[in-house]
């Protein structure tokens, strides 16, 4: 089933002559985990914002084509309606906190309060969500006093609690330290294993290699490549062309191929690389 569909979608911010997104056609199916990579300024963040409808309902500009999420037309629908279908997580952990809640629990409840969900239902979902993200110890702490990584987990949970059909994350670890990054990727991995449809915009190729099903490369507002994760992330020429650094493991296998030490497909994950080295050493 198609959850998200872009049809000839173009977007030009007001005051600009050239579109930042150009004639995009893209379909994401239920349960897929899609990773999005590309240069700074390729239009990745704008694409994320358009799925929730921030483009065109929050930013002014020229909207062409169609975006359909879960059967709803983004251009003609309202932001509050779209927020029940699309969960969007942003870069800055602190700026995403609503400021309306003095505890993590209240912060999580914020979206449900806005939707007018009954209190007993809110309590139930908050409890489940606290458990899912593993923040039991912090549930009555002030979210502003948590570390960046934990704040980002709260941010993810606070949209997930609204039970969206697709979770879109726009560089969720870009402002985090390694520990925070690890916390967030552990959570993302858990969500992926639950079959939640995810679109993840990130620069972290090593992490995408571990759990993305499919990769999209964006370049100059267009989709430059779209395919299964393994074939895209091991295509060194393609990655280089679009300014993406392949995983060091892929580079290693590529260089070994050049030196005639290896003649099988390039490595992507740690498991691949270990197997490759074992085989080479045995020979």
């Amino acid at each position: 089933m198609d959850i998200l569909k872009f049809k000839n979608f173009s977007w030009t911010y007001e005051g600009f002559n050239t579109p930042i997104i150009k004639k995009i056609n893209l379909t994401i199916k239920k349960g897929e985990f899609v990773g999005m990579i590309g240069r700074v300024g390729a239009g990745r963040s704008s694409l994320c914002s358009s799925i929730l409808g921030l483009i065109p309902h929050f930013y002014p500009g020229k909207f062409e084509g169609n975006i359909i999420v879960d059967g709803v037309d983004v251009e003609t629908s309202s932001l509050s309606k779209l927020s029940t279908i699309v969960g969007l997580v942003f870069q800055s952990p602190t700026n995403q906190l609503s400021g309306a809640g003095t505890t993590v629990e209240e912060e999580l409840a914020f979206g449900l309060e806005n939707l007018g969900i009954q209190r007993h239902e809110i309590i139930k979902r908050v409890e489940e969500m606290v458990k899912l993200i593993g923040l039991e110890k912090f549930s009555s702490r002030n979210p502003f006093e948590l570390s960046g990584g934990q704040q980002q987990k709260v941010a993810i949970a606070s949209v997930l609690i609204m039970e969206p059909k697709i979770l879109v994350m726009d560089e969720p670890t870009a402002q985090l330290d390694p520990l925070g990054t690890k916390l967030v990727f552990d959570l993302i991995k858990k969500l992926a294993s639950k079959g939640i449809t995810i679109l993840l915009n990130t620069q972290n190729v090593d992490q995408l290699a571990e759990f993305a099903d499919r990769i999209i490369i964006m370049d100059k507002g267009e989709i430059a490549a779209d395919g299964d994760a393994r074939s895209i992330l091991t295509d060194i020429t393609l990655l280089k062309k679009y300014g993406i650094e392949p995983s060091q493991l892929t580079t290693l296998s590529y260089k070994m191929k050049e030196k005639k030490l290896w003649n099988k497909p390039l490595c992507l994950t740690m498991k691949d690389a270990e197997e490759m080295v074992c085989e080479v050493m045995k020979r």
Binding site: N95, S98, T102, N114, R119
Partner: protein, 258 residues
């Protein structure tokens, strides 16, 4: 990073904490009106009554902390009113070797204002410390205050420290480029100009990001909002409101008659 939050709610399990915010708000308004009606001596009695209340709320000394900020205001009040009160008649004291006179009427006037300020400050503080901001907003929403106004009140409390931190970073960044922020006031003001641009852009950006994050959570949904926190209006809230109003009116009328 240290954060300075000026005033904030302190969680305690006390009778006063459990009261409905509206009950406390009514009581606070009564006290403020009384503070204006009563003279300095009676106001001091009213001030003394905070002691049992702060004890019941399990916040004994926290309530008095802001008084130190008031001391400066008192000093200014007493010196200015003592010397320049417009309706001065009775000299109280002449500073030796000068002809500077301190006037009795000025001192009494300053005492009146100070006692009022003192009462309003401690009771106001008791209110803030014992009332969860979310509960207050919820209670006010029941009185038809717009949801967005409530949100602004609430979030400001949290957003101020993060803007404060950003200001510090921006000042540090420019100092690191040789910006000298010492010297006389004009020099200092001029030095702060470079900070305005980044500060403005930074706070606008923060606001934009936060607004988008709010939209991602149905902030503008056009339906009846619910609340995770519950504020109950008990029988004792009703009784306390009635009692407070009756007592206040009686005290007010009595002090007006005599």
């Amino acid at each position: 990073m240290p954060r300075t939050i000026l005033i904030s709610y302190i969680e305690r399990d006390s009778l006063i904490h459990k009261l409905n915010p509206l009950t406390k708000l009514t009581a606070l308004i009564c006290v403020i009106i009384l503070a204006f009606i009563l003279g300095p001596v009676n106001n001091l009695i009213l001030f003394a009554l905070i002691l049992p209340l702060s004890y019941i709320s399990k916040l004994t000394w926290d309530v008095f902390k802001p008084i130190r900020y008031l001391l400066i205001i008192f000093a200014i009040l007493f010196s200015i009113q003592g010397l320049f009160y417009p309706f001065r008649l009775t000299p109280l004291y002449t500073i030796p070797f000068t002809n500077i006179i301190i006037w009795k009427e000025g001192i009494i006037y300053a005492a009146e204002i100070s006692a009022r300020l003192l009462v309003m400050m401690v009771y106001g503080f008791l209110f803030v410390l014992t009332t969860h901001p979310g509960d207050l907003v919820n209670a006010l929403r029941k009185l038809k205050m717009p949801y967005k106004v409530g949100y602004i009140v609430l979030s400001t409390l949290h957003v101020i420290p993060s803007i404060q931190m950003q200001v510090e970073t921006i000042i540090d960044a420019q100092k690191s480029r040789g910006l000298d922020v010492s010297g006389n006031i004009i020099k200092r003001l001029r030095a702060y100009v470079p900070l305005l641009g980044p500060l403005f852009i930074g706070s606008v950006q923060q606001a934009v990001e936060r607004t988008m994050a709010l939209e991602a959570r149905a902030f503008s949904a056009d339906c009846e909002k619910t609340s995770f926190r519950q504020t109950v209006f008990r029988k004792r809230d009703r009784n306390i409101i009635i009692a407070t109003v009756i007592i206040s009116v009686t005290v007010g009328v009595l002090s007006w008659i005599y």
